[in-house]
Subunit: 85 residues, 2 copies
Amino acid sequence: MDPLLELFGLIAGAITSMGFVPQLIRGHRTKKLDDVSYYMPMILAVGMTLWFIYGVLIDSLAIMIANTFGVCCCLVLIAMKKAYT
Amino acid sequence: MDPLLELFGLIAGAITSMGFVPQLIRGHRTKKLDDVSYYMPMILAVGMTLWFIYGVLIDSLAIMIANTFGVCCCLVLIAMKKAYT
């Protein structure tokens, strides 16, 4: 894949991956995640795993990296909600 | 792009897009989104817009559709949080 295109995908992936970080920080700070639905991170983790496979199939490193980080964030969010409930 | 591959991407996209729906339903039901960080949907909306452009560049309909729906969900979540605060 075109390196410039791959870089663009990496930036997009970095930003979407970072999206979960403020939620994790907020949850860690307030120790409350009651208003966060369990299903959101669960469904997203499944979907992002499929996106990871899609990234492998179309040979896009950006999609692979972004979704690996995304799945990790979702799993941490689930664990945090479990711990704080 | 290979139609079978595109179908796989569409399924992945449908699942990740659906991930936000339970959060919207929960927010609508409880009228509380205090524990949800504003930054999460904001950053995700920016990132998903870049993913949409990436989808256009690599000619992936799956990425375009999934991220259009994702951006919409994020904007609705921001509006709901604004309304319930």
